[in-house]
Amino acid sequence: MTLSRRQFLHSASAALIGLSAKSDRLITGSFVNDSFQLGHQLRDHARFPAPKQVVKIPVLIVGGGMAGLGAAWRFEKKGFTDFIVLEMNERAGGNSRWGENEITAYPWAAHYVPVPGPKAVYVRELFEDLNVLKNGEWEERYLCFAPQERLFLYGRWQEGIEPAIGLNQKDRDQFQHLEDEIHKFRSSGKFTVPMELGLSENTAALDQISFAEWLRDQGLDSKILNWYMNYCCRDDYGATTDQTSAWAGIQYFASREPEEKGPLTWPEGNGWIVRRLLERVGRFVHTGEMVHRISQQKNRISVFAGPTEYQAEFVIFAAPSFLAPYLIEGMPRLEDFEYSPWLTANLTLERLPASYGGDPTWDNVFMESPTLGYVDATHQSLRTHVDRTVWTFYWALAEGTPAQNRQLLLDRDWTYWKEAILHDLGRVHRDIGQCVSRIDVMRMGHAMARPKVGAIFSAERRRLARQRGQILFANSDLSGFSIFEEAQYRGVTAAETVLRALSGLRSVHENRA
């Protein structure tokens, strides 16, 4: 066979191109922290061993996330130590879990706390305990360093995530109109953090429509404004504006003062708070102990975990509430609770991409992307010279139904997600493939509560949130959405309720004696 001249030229130039294009690095990594296997055991009513020992403990906290640790912090601070925290995973932290490699610590999920307003008294108290707030001043090194956020749109970066370039007069007018409306809601005092303190029947109608509908009703049809609203809902709720209650969409903006100081953040995100809390209450936390049955007896609660039956007077159920019907005997299925599936990834970068553009920034968002962008874990480093770093990549699987997306998370292998992440980052950072050496991926089927239409004023939610009886619910999903402040608030109030009840019981005993 003879090679035609054209064929020869073709193959030769292909070989040259192959030689000249820089080949990508070998990228290692895997799925990490998978916990759905444990969850599916509960769902599928797997058989669990009969208890071999009985432990009597006045108070048992189920779940070592921020709500459970918040309750533990409260108990310890009040001098009450007769309690145990049971955490299903090998490490406590829940949505504030973190990881660490030779470069830096990095978050696996929640990575910042907005500077808490005056109503978030428990958060402020915690931060005073942790020396984050000292004499009314926020510790500078825990506030997010400048530059904080940027958005990639129209082929360039702008400072801040709210679109500020390429707006026409209509867009500007609509942003202004929205701001005026939000200002009214904010001054009404009915949108607060924690949400329970401001919640008012006057705003119930807002919970009956989606945020997208509310925006339409307001005549806010600017495409770029709607992109931003959608981004905010995906970021805080893992849902699009048409999946989000208008009440929750407004809460996002109206519950906080426009704050210049920027959020509080740490290399490991909210994992820093978990670490500090574990220094105080770690001795009460039993990790790797999955509760598989909770049974209400006459005057005590039996909680079965592994080979142990815990007999408690009070249980603070701080795990996600959707698990409760699988655990608590006789509890009906929950109807009003829905959860958004998420995917996060931590990427080890051997160097910044040549296409990085601008100054190293904490939070980086692309407008043309279904993902939420990435956060730089070394941004809070005090070093002046950083060459290797870790980016935490956030992807709320908002489009479509949660069930479909959960199935997608289970079906696709690591390579699929690796390619998807590199493809997304590659829109802006063309040479990303030459910079990344490792991508670890964490899949969360029920990452955060989704405040769908009707979720906030749901009778079911409000009944569970009431914290009465011997089983007190405390997960942040009782607020309709999952944020640090709500989790901590619910944990602390549950602890307070238990302490009051216990001292009431004691005084009854003493009176009898």
Partner: protein, 498 residues
């Protein structure tokens, strides 16, 4: 005979490698980018050795005679290679051409050596033993050379004399080969005479090497850039014009040797002279050793800790003769402890206290450097001040970057220190500002070290007076989360250049 033969192998292997290392080092010194230089030189050299080995098959008779000549040629070419390259860089445009030509010629000659030698001794040993022994000693020689080159040769002999020393060894090998292989040689005596003459020539060359390097250096460093290197952290450039040496870091001027005494005397003496008995001093930044030179004028100071990010910078100012002349070998003082670390984390984790802290960082041109000008940083630094301690901060120009200067002053004040801003005129910089700070009232010193060229006790108070065009402005403090200073600085210099 056997052992002598293998020592010959060991020596010629060492010589070959040394010439290659010298070419690589010289190219890295003069051209920069050591990875490129070493890679290409090693590549060319090994390739040329292959050519030499291939060519060896065409040499059929008179192997010993040819071997002696190869050693002679190697001795001359290799021995003079370094001097030739230096002179070529100084006086011609053809440095790289000559360098690769030399590398290839030396490589070809070295490539011929071993095959010839193996054939010459073929009859005496089993082929198996020849290969094993010759290669063993070949590699041993290479190991020895690669160890003594950085440890002994470069620091003690320098590149020109190292090359000549190994040239001499090559010729010595030629000379003793005439004895070793006398029975295979016809004109042994004539060869010996040639060897002897070349040996003398190289020895004289070695004695005169100093003149060669000086002549070359004078020409290389006549003007322009005398040193340029990209380190892991920054781009270092040194220039010289007549007697003026200038250092640029990332193209920002750090000092001019003509007037740096003004800057460094003003940086150190107003503060350090005001401290009753200063014993321990901390310098943050200042990798040029010039601030340390001023601090060493206080005999009561017992220890100086210098924290600078870039080891190449402190190494350069510890070793380069032109620069150690400038800082009076301050880094070689036993009182000085150099720590190559990032300043903020170091300050955060170190527990020591100091009587005087010198903060001499590059201007806040970006957010990374801006971290070193924040309330958080000054608070962390102030924790290291002893009771009587003072801190001085280089604070950019109150004239050209007036907003920035007063922003830095405000930042230090908000970190809880009393501030005493002052300024001096440095011709190459213009008006330059410093902020002296401490936990107590500042008292003007009663005396300063003798022999200063700029600071004296009588004029000192005037430095603390600001004329109206540099007078204080009300500025916000610079915090990690706002970094207003970086924006102010950027704006200040934009305003100047428009």
């Amino acid at each position: 005979m056997g052992i002598l033969l293998f020592i010959t192998v060991l020596l010629i292997a060492a010589c070959g490698l040394i010439y290659e290392l010298i070419a690589g080092t010289l190219a890295s010194y003069l051209l920069g980018d050591s990875v490129l230089q070493f890679s290409t030189i090693i590549g060319c050299y090994l390739f040329a050795m292959g050519i030499g080995s291939a060519l060896s098959r065409y040499l059929e008779r008179g192997l010993a005679y040819r071997f002696v000549w190869i050693e002679l040629l190697l001795g001359v070419i290799g021995g003079l290679s370094s001097a030739l390259l230096f002179l070529a860089f100084a006086y011609t445009q053809g440095f790289q051409l000559l360098m690769y030509a030399l590398v290839i010629v030396i490589g070809v000659l070295v490539g011929l050596e071993i095959p010839l030698l193996m054939r010459m001794v073929r009859g005496r040993y089993h082929f198996r033993d020849v290969v094993a022994h010759v290669l063993t000693f070949d590699y041993l020689g290479a190991l020895g050379a690669s160890l003594i080159f950085p440890i002994l040769l470069v620091p003690y002999l320098g590149l020109v004399r190292s090359a000549m020393l190994f040239g001499i060894i090559n010729v010595a090998v030629a000379l003793w080969s005439t004895f070793l292989f006398a029975h295979q040689l016809v004109k042994a005596r004539a060869l010996r005479a040639i060897c002897f003459v070349v040996l003398c020539g190289l020895a004289i060359g070695m004695a005169q090497a100093k003149h060669i390097t000086t002549a070359a250096e004078d020409n290389i460093y006549a003007d322009e850039i005398i040193f340029a290197r990209d380190t892991r952290y920054q781009h270092i450039v040194l220039t010289r014009f007549k007697d003026d040496i200038r250092l640029f870091l990332n193209s920002h001027l750090q000092f001019s040797s003509r007037d740096e005494y003004r800057y460094h005397e003003a940086l150190i003496h107003p503060g350090l002279s005001a401290i009753p008995a200063p014993r321990r001093v901390l310098v943050l930044g200042g990798g040029d050793g010039l601030a340390v030179r001023e601090i060493l004028k206080y005999p009561q100071v017992e220890s100086i800790t210098l924290v600078d990010l870039d080891p190449e910078m402190t190494r350069l100012f510890s070793t380069h003769p032109m620069l150690t002349a400038l800082n009076q070998k301050s880094f070689l003082s036993p009182k000085v402890h150099i720590i190559n670390a990032d300043a903020f984390p170091w300050v955060d984790s170190n527990p020591d206290s100091f009587d005087f802290i010198v903060v001499d960082f590059p201007d806040p041109t970006n957010y990374s450097l801006g971290k070193l000008y924040t309330t958080a940083f000054y608070k962390a630094a102030a924790r290291h001040l002893s009771v009587q301690g003072l801190m001085v901060v280089q604070s950019t120009s109150p004239m050209f970057a007036r907003d920035s200067f007063w922003c830095i002053a405000q930042t230090i004040q908000q970190a809880g220190l009393r501030i005493y801003p002052y300024h001096v005129y440095v011709p190459s910089f213009g008006e330059w500002g410093f902020v002296l700070a401490g936990g107590h009232e500042y008292q003007f010193p009663a005396s300063v070290p003798s022999g200063l060229r700029f600071i004296d006790v009588r004029g000192l108070q005037n430095l603390f007076q600001f004329p109206p065009d540099m007078a204080p402005l009300s500025m916000p403090a610079n915090h990690l989360n706002n970094q207003v200073l970086v924006r102010l600085y950027d704006q200040d210099w934009k305003d100047i250049s428009h």
